[in-house]
Symmetry: C2
Subunit: 236 residues, 2 copies
DNA sequence: GGAATGCTTCGCCCGAGAACGAAGCGTTCG
DNA sequence: CGAACGCTTCGTTCTCGGGCGAAGCATTCC
């Protein structure tokens, strides 16, 4: 069976804990060096080298040499999607078993990027707020911006109507959040909202992570614009 | 790393050739018995039993007892999506290496179902035909039915306008075809087209497979309705 | 130039887990 | 009721591949 074979080969590649850690660390699209990846993988440099070679051979990673460093990154958005698909199942479809929380984990669960939009508690809260106010209607597979939504987001300077009719990209769709297990907003509108938050410095990237920090200005802005209350959330 | 661990566990589960064959065989949503799965897995009954138990424990499969048979099926659409994601990468992102073709493989590549819509050569040809005639505009991530498309599909009795404004489901989106490596049509419109073809007996399910057979009536109908020429395609 | 750094290659060890066959248990058929 | 069937459990074997450290090869720093 040629189909099953490829399925098995690729999955087996991801199925090693060290390699899975490497791939998870690269999920946000950054490029990391072999040494950094050895650290996140939790194994020695020599072992990591072998793993990276395999991932590279299978076209999961691309590599660029820079001086005496070798920077690895995910080879394509296809790889990200594949990994996100597996992680989503692992988080949602799998039995809710006890998982120790790390500090970084807490930050990731509060707010992080997912491709170009927001995920984590914040991402879900944002989606909830827009749905609660009748700005967005969300289905299982797609969503729709209502007239009041076009109006409200327009007042924030987002010009959603302009995005709405490009068919290059889905305008509004739910994206299952693996930590909250509920949908957040993806598609053009999700990206626009994330950009908006970054531009106003409501959120900032946390170094070496997909997690984002919610600034003081962000706490105020998210409350006044969307009614999102962060007072009972950890400051980190 | 709690995230990477789950990723690895799930992937390792899929990463065994026997289990991958089992999952691939269940991809179309049918339920198969343990014996049938033992056959597709290519291992003995006892070994299969262990594999099925693992897949079941991890919530990838559900099982229903019926007499002395145990029927297994994929536990949820989430599992299908995950597997489709991996298979897509395996087919597209991986190096184009030599793959021996089996008879069944040929049928699968000609026409098959992908969830509820059509894939394979036929699926891509259908998408191409609609795009070429200006009925559909396809982007990377979404697609749009044009006025001429609404008109043309309406004449076939599809009432696309009715489907278009339910936001429960994406109306039209491209879905990367792993055998053709080009997009076919998914979403509500893809499903409607597939249903249309089945209802008119243009295509029929092939027993024990996701592959579909194109009937003589189908060859005529696909040509007259969409200009799809199957004369140089194998009859099987 | 020499030392330090980053990464890879090699050889070895070792454990996890996939496979099988035999035996056991429950269901159905004649 | 006995036989056949479908599936699981058990015990054993054995292979694959991940792990490490030492050594080797680049590149860069001082």
């Amino acid at each position: 069976m040629t189909v099953g074979t490829n399925l098995a080969e690729v999955s087996a590649l991801i199925g090693d804990p060290a390699r899975a850690n490497i791939l998870a660390a690269l999920m946000d699209g950054r490029a990391l060096t072999a040494s950094e990846l050895a650290y996140v993988a939790g194994v020695g440099a020599s072992t990591t080298s072998v793993h990276l070679a395999k991932l590279h051979d299978a076209n999961l990673l691309t590599v660029v040499k820079q001086g005496r460093h070798r920077y690895f990154r995910l080879a394509s958005p296809l790889v990200s999607r594949m990994l996100e698909g597996i992680m989503t199942f692992a988080a949602i479809g799998s039995p809710p078993r006890y998982q120790p929380r790390t500090t970084n984990d807490t930050a990731m669960r509060l707010a992080r990027t997912c491709y170009d939009h927001l995920a984590g508690w914040l991402g879900v809260a944002l989606a909830d707020a827009l749905v609660a106010r009748g700005h967005i209607v969300l289905g299982d597979d797609a969503g729709e911006l209502t007239a009041s939504g076009i109006d409200a987001l327009g007042k924030l300077g987002l010009a959603p109507a302009a995005l709405q009719h490009s068919h290059k990209r889905v305008f509004c769709r739910p994206c299952l959040d693996w930590s909250e297990r509920r949908p957040h907003l993806a598609g053009a509108i999700g990206a626009a909202l994330a950009t908006h938050c970054f531009e106003r410095h409501w959120i900032e990237h946390i170094r070496d992570s997909r997690a984002v920090k919610i600034t003081t200005a962000g706490r105020a802005g998210l409350r006044s614009s969307f009614g999102i209350d962060l007072s009972d959330r950890p400051t980190l």
